[in-house]
Subunit: 217 residues, 2 copies
DNA sequence: GTCTATAATGCGATAGAC
DNA sequence: GTCTATCGCATTATAGAC
């Protein structure tokens, strides 16, 4: 039986190195990078603080490694690698699957931690901002934009500004995800917010779709 | 000539106390609370660190005071105190003025700093989460919800779920405001995002409004 | 690769002169 | 109300035994 990790971290290394990264992500995403000490990390692992320096040369290097991992995480790759050119044909269901990916992100501990890390450090860490903006925001809005453009060309949705549509579709998903992560922090119920993911798609599609003309006879 | 401060802080006190709060907000919102030292604050004011303790008993008390100020800041009071019951009659223009308030928030240094402070500490400070959730999110979504409900009752907009509509209207505004604050951090152009505030309202209203029936003759 | 011990620095906060 | 001086403690990081 092999290990059942859904996501294998791209920063390969020793078993302890992996554990340091995992533990650090958990602590950084909870207490914030600045408020997490290397003693906290080592303590949570049951080793001494100095032992960490056999695997990373500084606390900062741990964060940098985690940020690098962010690039290839599920957070930034909302679209599957399917043939993007043909995706539009699926219509509403593409949008629904994107919303579902957003929704599920909050319920995978690893991805939730990455999201929280991103949110907490984005104002202080320029590299995080770059990754967020380039790989997460720009990339996805661009793809959505192309999707909507194709749908317009094929008379599936009403004609308008594809880029605006992409932003209008993307931003509530991001916001709802943030809401979920905040509610979970206080152990509050997330069900009403979670239902908004699907409602968003339903509402959004109803607004943009082209009504089937009811034939007169 | 009196001082020309647009917003007078509700935490009254001596001139230095005001200056400490102002300086702290600036630094907290830039470097984060944990990474800002009392020496940083004092240094930026040109006084010694120990002098701060004549005005606040701890670094934490400074943050707590700033958080208390948040409650009465422009960030959390998107709606003017006008008669909320009659607001709906203005139709689209109410929505536009709300979007404008959001937009302008980013261009008042004080409010922008408060927003950044909120975003940076919301995952670590339960009181900030409470204020955000209660006074900023819930309050405004509730008011928006009532607004949309009245509009539906009066056949101004299509009938649907008012609460969903409120969330769909609110979330892009929040997201765009975050985008603006991030872009400004890297001194990038914000014009394309800023234009989204108005475009959002235009698009949103077009989707929900009830088309005027063109009379046949 | 982990341990103990320790260096070197920075932190928040206090005491007391002025 | 600000200053100098200092305390006590926590921090990151290193050195060297095992």
């Amino acid at each position: 039986m092999h290990t059942n990790d859904v996501i294998s971290s791209p920063s390969k290394g020793s078993k302890t190195k992996e554990k340091i990264l995992k533990t650090s992500l958990k602590l950084f995403s909870t207490k914030g990078y600045a408020s997490t000490t290397v003693r906290d990390i080592a303590g949570a692992m049951g080793i001494k603080q100095s032992a960490l320096y056999n695997h990373f040369k500084s606390k900062d290097e741990i964060l940098e490694t985690l940020i690098s991992d962010l690039t290839s995480s599920a957070i930034v790759t909302i679209f599957e690698d399917k043939d993007s050119q043909e995706l539009y044909k699926q219509g509403k269901s593409v949008l629904m699957s994107i919303a579902t990916i957003f929704k599920l992100l909050s319920f995978d501990a690893q991805n939730e931690a990455l999201f929280k890390l991103l949110m907490q450090e984005i104002y202080r860490n320029e590299r995080i901002r770059e990754i967020y903006n380039e790989y997460f925001y720009q990339e996805n809005v661009k793809k959505l934009s192309g999707l909507f453009f194709m749908m317009m060309q094929n008379d599936m949705i009403k004609s308008s500004d594809p880029l605006l549509l992409a932003n209008e579709f993307f931003s509530p998903l991001f916001f709802y995800q943030m809401q979920v992560s905040l509610l979970k922090l206080d152990k509050k119920s997330t069900s009403s917010v979670v239902s908004l993911f699907e409602k968003h798609v339903d509402y959004f599609w109803d607004m943009i779709k082209i009504e089937k003309q009811t034939t007169l006879f």
